[in-house]
């Protein structure tokens, strides 16, 4: 057991999979010699050499397209998109090509690709380097999407993503890179499509994702002081979605609150709210409440960004509204 930062967990995750499988290759901007702009990939070039750890030009379409072509011809590529905002630059490759190739060819093309990316706000980068875009990917049939919120999940979910035969996007909340967590020694492999109950309560179900998980836990702690016991579910995997874990919790609590860093419209919480309203309507004892960033681009100034992203206070308020 060792304490690792999330940042260190990224390098360990990539290293674990490259060590295990010689067909795993890694490419991206500044990932090799520079060790990544967030220092998440330090040491990989030295360990695996320049053939398997490749610096690319600033060519997001070529990075993702090359990953697709390589996956069609026997590699298991890991591609880094430095900021998740850059998905907008190569969306054709992601949404039209990678996501659809298997279906359009009736299963002839298999694409074991991982795209990993630094996502979300909280670091004052402004509107074009701070977006939470996980719901963009969730909306495209053919993409799997996971969002690890701890160092150990970063390794386990990443390993599951690399070993999965389908394209998986691993969304890393960049505000968590400096966060720390206990990580067991040896190989760590998790499963896609499994949420985790990170706090047991029974009065209300709080579903959170990525950087919102620690905030939801803090809110749950504060609510406990007032006698409200919250289930906190780290959703972890948007596709596949662990509906059962969420529905089972709502069955017991009768109350659902989602905590989403994405802008309001069409966030992942809306899909969960819709499913729960459809399938667990008679278990509900109050309104489903979504706590989200307002439907805005993220501003840069500390005060404005903090006002935009869900805070512990807003989560507590959301829970109270659900409880009535």
């Amino acid at each position: 057991m060792a304490e690792l930062t999330y940042r260190e967990a990224v390098a360990r995750a990539i290293g674990q999979e490259m060590e295990r499988d010689p067909s795993v290759y890694f490419l991206g901007e500044d990932v090799a010699a520079a060790g990544g702009v967030f220092k998440t990939t330090e040491g990989l070039l030295e360990r695996f050499g320049p053939e398997r750890v490749r610096d690319t030009p600033i060519s997001e379409q070529a990075i993702i397209g090359a990953a697709m072509g390589a996956a069609m011809n026997g590699l298991r590529p890991i591609a880094e998109l430095m900021f998740s905002d850059f998905f907008a630059v190569c969306w054709d490759m992601v949404a039209n090509q990678i996501a659809k190739a298997r279906y359009m060819t009736n299963g002839q093309v298999e694409l074991p690709i991982v795209i990993r990316t630094a996502n979300g706000g909280g670091v004052r980068f402004g509107a074009q380097h701070s977006q939470s875009v996980e719901t963009w990917m969730m909306a495209i049939p053919g993409l799997k999407v996971v969002v690890p919120s701890t160092p150990v999940d970063m390794i386990g979910l990443f390993a599951a993503a690399v070993r999965d035969p389908d394209p998986v996007i691993v969304v890393e909340p960049k505000v968590l890179y400096a966060s720390k967590g206990e990580v067991p020694d040896g190989e760590i492999v998790d499963r896609l499509g499994v949420a985790r109950t990170v706090r047991d309560g029974g009065d209300v179900t709080i579903c959170a994702l990525g950087a919102m998980v620690p905030k939801a836990l803090e809110a749950a702690g504060r609510l406990a002081d007032d006698g409200v016991a919250a289930d906190v579910i780290d959703v972890r995997s948007l596709v596949p979605l662990d509906v059962r874990a969420i529905a089972d919790s709502v069955e017991r609590t009768g109350h659902l609150v989602t905590v989403e860093e994405n802008p309001r419209l069409c966030g992942w919480g809306a899909e969960i709210a819709s499913i729960v309203a459809d399938e667990k309507f008679y278990a509900l004892d109050g309104p489903i409440v979504r706590v989200t960033t307002p439907h805005l681009p993220l501003p840069s100034a500390d005060v404005l960004e903090d006002a935009a992203i869900p805070s512990v206070d807003r989560i507590v308020d959301g829970v109270r509204r659900s409880l009535g």
Partner: protein, 332 residues
């Protein structure tokens, strides 16, 4: 223009002739089936451009990888994809090469190295580079060949892929089929250089290669040279083959924006009758050529029957093959 000399033996040239006939007659039949209402959606025919596909096809090994565009019926067919399954895909039948999920713009036969017809202009340029990267990394000696239109030279992926392929010295040949029109607009009206691909080769440290794309021998010669160079580890090439589509951009386009004299001039330069004459002059006998033509007509007839008689897809296949487990589930 360079590479106008031919260096192939007569058997190879007869096989190129057969392939051009296969492409031509397959697409003519596809056109007939459209008019009959049996093919839905749209189609983009390459009638008139067959020499490019055939010249390259004759230069490839079985495990080489071809990437083409929505104007990709002929390239896919000439990799060896079964003609009946291709025709059935156009008709939306269960025995189609993609089970009816792909259609005219997405013909793919991975088992024959036909790695897809890409319907977003330029998308397959970096994908082909990536396949070549894997070939190099794995030491397979495969070559990737990427066919694209003149319009592609003005989209970003063209430049990103060429740069990456050059920097990484990848075994890939990019083949621009310059048919003078990007959709409905003359390429010269929207492009800063005269030769949209060849004039840009130097930007990526590549040789400028411009050939007559209606001369199957010239295409084959340049294919042998560039594919051979890629296979020998000498990096990528960019070829511009000037050709002409006899029809419009797609089913919806009668191509009226083209001057009549221009169309007539290019019809006189139809690659198939030109090649036929050249083969006769080179010693092929008339009976052999007629035999090839008869075989191809029969093959197209059989493929058409196979397609017409194919069942429609079972609606139960709708939610299949999204994921590698064969299904389409997104939740538990």
């Amino acid at each position: 223009m360079v590479d106008t000399i031919q260096d192939a033996d007569l058997d190879t040239r007869l096989s190129i002739y057969r392939m051009m006939q296969e492409g031509r007659l397959f697409e003519k039949r596809a056109q007939d089936l459209f008019l009959e209402g049996l093919v839905k959606g749209t189609s983009h025919l390459g009638i008139g451009q067959e020499a490019v596909a055939a010249g390259f096809a004759a230069a490839l090994e079985p495990d080489d990888l071809v990437f083409c565009t929505y104007r990709g019926h002929v390239h896919t067919l000439l990799r060896g994809a079964p003609m009946g399954a291709l025709m059935a895909e156009l008709l939306g039948r269960a025995n189609g090469i993609c089970g009816g999920k792909g259609g005219s713009m997405h013909l793919t036969d991975v088992s024959h190295g036909a790695m897809g017809s890409y319907a977003i202009v330029g998308a397959h340029m970096p994908i082909a580079a990536g396949a070549a990267w894997a070939a190099k990394a794995r030491g397979t000696r495969q070559v990737a060949v990427c066919f694209f239109g003149d319009g592609t030279t003005n989209i970003g992926t063209f430049h990103e892929a060429l740069n990456m392929a050059a920097v990484w010295e990848l075994p890939v040949v990019f083949v621009c089929e310059n048919n003078l029109y990007m959709e409905y607009t003359a390429i010269r009206d929207v492009t800063a250089v005269e030769h949209p691909a060849a004039d840009r080769a130097s930007a990526y440290g590549l040789e400028s290669i411009l050939i007559d794309g209606n001369d199957a021998d010239a295409v084959h010669a340049v294919a042998v040279r560039t594919v051979g160079r890629a296979r020998a580890g000498e990096g990528p090439s960019l070829v511009e083959a000037v050709t002409y589509r006899h029809g419009g951009h797609s089913r919806a386009d009668p191509g009226k924006y083209r001057p009549t004299e221009e169309v007539e001039e290019w019809l006189r330069r139809d690659p198939i009758p030109l090649y036929r004459e050249r083969l006769l002059a080179a010693g092929a006998d008339e009976a052999t050529l007629q035999g090839i033509e008869r075989d191809v007509r029969d093959a197209v007839d059989r493929a058409t029957e196979e397609a017409r008689e194919g069942p429609f897809p079972d609606p139960g296949t709708l939610e299949t093959q999204l994921w590698a487990d064969g299904g389409a589930a997104w939740r538990n």
